[in-house]
């Protein structure tokens, strides 16, 4: 038995875009897998997978979908039905039949609604040049609103002023309870009215969300535990440890626990392997620190699937940074193995410690291997470029 035969938790060790999607796909293709469990984030995830010429940017569906593995969205995930439907249509277009039937969702998962999205965009636009690099998909707003019950207008919660009288946050389970959902959406509409009003009526949303509830399986209780006891799970993290809400660099963080901690909670003490994903160089979207940033690196590695987002800002790149990598691993309370992607990159450099100049990195695998076992190695998003360690001896080599 190797490290990868049991449950595997995949986390990013950078600022996102490390290649988690391709790694999850490779892990699912390499071993029988019961489900991919998403344990953080929401519709802002963008995990590129290419298999046999089919490409999809996984957002709410798990990156194991091309490998035929169902997805479970745990209670730590934010669910946005409009985007989910759009993603289902894109998956159908690349040959996945009835993708929504592959999905189950924990009823406690928070709903991201047009109210959150429009408020998010209104706030980010008001920040002007001081944008946080938000994706404009309402993620932070969804989390923030969920923290408000009990707060009063004028209170400050997480350094943001409460602009009205908050209600309870709508959840996925509410979608099947129109009267509860209507009450919560009415409260949401009233709350956000001073900031932004989406073009949808509450009636329309209630009808749409009811259709959503009918189209996916909504679970209660410990579904992840049940799945874990019936077979191997791959936990797919979104974003990266350096964007973590507790460990990232504020304010350029995501309102999400990007480290393996949610996955560990869901596993409830069951044995597992944590695989930290890293590129052979560093990238990030939009504003925020990137100490080893280099125009030369950016010029050498153009991205096929990462574009400049309207709200997210530019795509940036820099050299590997040993201090940041160690920091990310520490933020995860350690990882068991690494997955190294973009091994096709040449002429790499690494900044070995804070303040040092970048030095050449002719053999990145050796450099990573000296720190931790390399369990998965690969190139871009294409499954054909991936190799998954076969035996423990390989991992420890």
């Amino acid at each position: 038995m190797t490290l990868l035969d049991g449950h595997v938790v995949v986390v990013g060790l950078g600022f996102g875009d490390e290649g988690k999607g391709a790694v999850v796909d490779a892990l699912c293709a390499a071993r029988p897998t019961t489900a991919v469990v998403r344990f953080n984030g929401g519709a802002q995830a963008a995990h590129n997978v290419v298999v046999d010429g089919r490409h999809h940017t996984f957002s709410q569906f798990g990156a194991g979908t091309f490998a035929g593995v169902p997805t479970h969205l745990s209670r730590f995930v934010l669910v946005e039905p409009f985007a989910l439907a759009a993603e289902a249509r894109r998956l159908e277009a690349v040959g996945v039949r009835n993708p929504l039937s592959l999905l189950s969702v924990d009823g406690r998962a928070l709903l991201t609604t047009p109210f959150h999205i429009h408020a998010n965009r209104a706030r980010e636009e008001a920040r002007g040049v001081n944008r946080h690099g938000s994706c404009g998909k309402g993620i932070g707003e969804t989390v923030w609103y969920s923290l408000l019950p009990g707060a009063a207008p004028g209170d400050v919660v997480e350094s943001q002023e409460v602009i009205g009288t908050p209600g309870e946050a709508p959840t996925v389970a509410d979608c099947a309870r129109p009267s509860v959902l209507r009450r919560k959406l009415d409260a949401l509409a009233r709350f956000y009215a001073p900031l932004a009003t989406p073009p949808h009526s509450v009636d329309e949303l209630v009808a749409l969300y009811r259709d959503f509830a009918g189209a996916v399986r909504i679970t209660d209780g410990d579904e992840t535990g049940r799945l874990a006891d019936s077979g191997r799970l791959v936990f797919e993290g979104a974003q990266g440890a350096l964007l973590d809400q507790f460990h990232g660099f504020h304010p350029h963080t995501t309102w999400s626990t990007t480290t393996p901690h949610n996955a560990r909670t869901l596993l409830g003490g069951r044995p597992h392997t944590v695989v930290g994903v890293t590129r052979t160089y560093l990238t990030r979207h939009g504003a925020g620190p990137l100490p080893t940033e280099s125009a030369a690196v950016l010029a050498r590695f153009p991205e096929a699937h990462n574009e400049i987002g309207e709200f997210q800002g530019a795509w940036r790149a820099g050299h590997l940074d040993a201090a940041l990598l160690d920091y990310a691993i520490a933020a995860c309370d350690g990882v068991d193995a690494l997955a190294v992607t973009h091994l096709d990159a040449t002429g790499l450099k690494v900044v070995p410690r804070d303040g040092s100049p970048a030095v050449d990195l002719p053999d990145p695998l050796a450099w990573f291997g000296a720190r931790l076992p390399v369990a998965v190695m690969g190139y871009g998003p294409d499954r054909a470029g991936y190799r998954v360690a076969e035996a423990r001896s390989t991992i420890n080599a």
Partner: protein, 324 residues
């Protein structure tokens, strides 16, 4: 009516979820068809009996333009509402985003045969948001009709002439757009008993259909679209009949799948926002390349029309609801 905004994402999401549930887009039809025929009846929201439909301006939509699309839902023509349902987003997007119309409001109706159908006429409400999808899907596609080469188009025309109020006309003297989509003839006479039973007006004498269309043309640009899917497509009698009533506004359409595109292009043309070439280029831009060919053919004669004018309100101000 007239509040709210059409949203492509919501429309597409609803369709996706319904499909995943295995639900028919025309669920009302599916429900009724599982019941005995004597229980078939029009959905309350679409019942023309003693009804008035309004197309009003609102704070959101200050320049509303009514667009009414009435289909013959007999036999093979039932495909047309399904095609429309699939392309509603495209219709709305073209009209609005390409600047053909600022505030389109769309009403759907369904036409059957008053002599033989249980539900010979259904008329929805003018909507500017995703409820237009809902009313379309609530239509009962009875699919009857009966071999006599005529349907009750004139009954629908009567309703549109007498039971529809629009701010576009009342406040601005602007005509609305009415598209009748079918493949047969009007009945020889609009029978008073059908008007009484289906619409509720106390009319005692049968009416000449031609006079109904004359009345209708005062407030509406009226088009008859004959899509190519029936044995009557090349029947000269159909063309002569409708050309006599509507002149150049009788349109033959090779590809029934292009009916939505034809409506959008016709409006763009009539509004003088685009010429035929631009309209077809717009269609190609939104991905209807194949359809644009059929539309181009159908519009060939409209494009050469010399003058297109909106009606001018009568002296003394706009006329009121009821036409004489």
């Amino acid at each position: 009516m007239g509040h709210g905004h059409w949203d492509d994402n919501a429309y597409a999401a609803a369709k996706t979820f319904r499909a995943a549930k295995g639900e028919d887009d025309f669920g009302y039809t599916a429900d009724l068809r599982s019941k005995p025929a004597k229980e078939w009846k029009v959905a309350p929201a679409l019942d023309p009996l003693n009804a008035v439909r309004e197309c009003r301006d609102s704070a959101d939509h200050s320049d509303s333009t009514p667009i009414a699309v009435l289909f013959d839902v007999t036999g093979s023509m039932r495909r047309v509402p399904r095609i429309m349902q699939g392309k509603l987003g495209k219709l709305h997007g073209l009209l609005k985003r390409r600047g053909y119309l600022a505030d389109p409001q769309v009403l759907f109706g369904a036409i059957g045969d008053a002599d033989s159908d249980r539900v010979p006429l259904q008329v929805g409400q003018f909507e500017s948001d995703n409820r237009m999808d809902e009313q379309l899907r609530t239509m009962f596609l009875e699919g009857g009709g009966g071999g006599q080469k005529s349907e009750s188009y004139e009954l629908a025309a009567y309703f549109m002439a007498r039971h529809v109020v629009t701010d576009a006309w009342q406040n601005r003297g602007r005509k609305g757009y009415l598209f009748i989509i079918g493949d047969e003839l009007n009945k020889p006479a609009l029978e008073a008993r059908h008007i009484r039973r289906v619409i509720g007006d106390d009319v005692r004498e049968d009416i000449d259909p031609a006079s109904v269309y004359r009345e209708l043309a005062r407030k509406w640009h009226v088009y008859f679209v004959l899509p190519n899917q029936s044995s009557y497509y090349n029947d000269p009698q159909i063309g002569e009949h409708w050309s006599e009533l509507l002149g150049q506004n009788f349109l033959k359409l090779d590809d029934p799948g292009a009916v939505c595109e034809l409506i959008a292009a016709t409006i763009g043309l009539e509004e003088r926002v685009v010429d035929v070439d631009r309209a077809l280029a717009d269609l190609a831009d939104v991905g209807s390349v194949a359809e644009s060919k059929a539309v181009g053919k159908a519009l060939a004669k409209l494009g050469t029309k010399s003058v297109v004018t909106s009606a001018v309100p009568e002296a003394g101000g706009p006329s009121d609801v009821v036409l004489r």
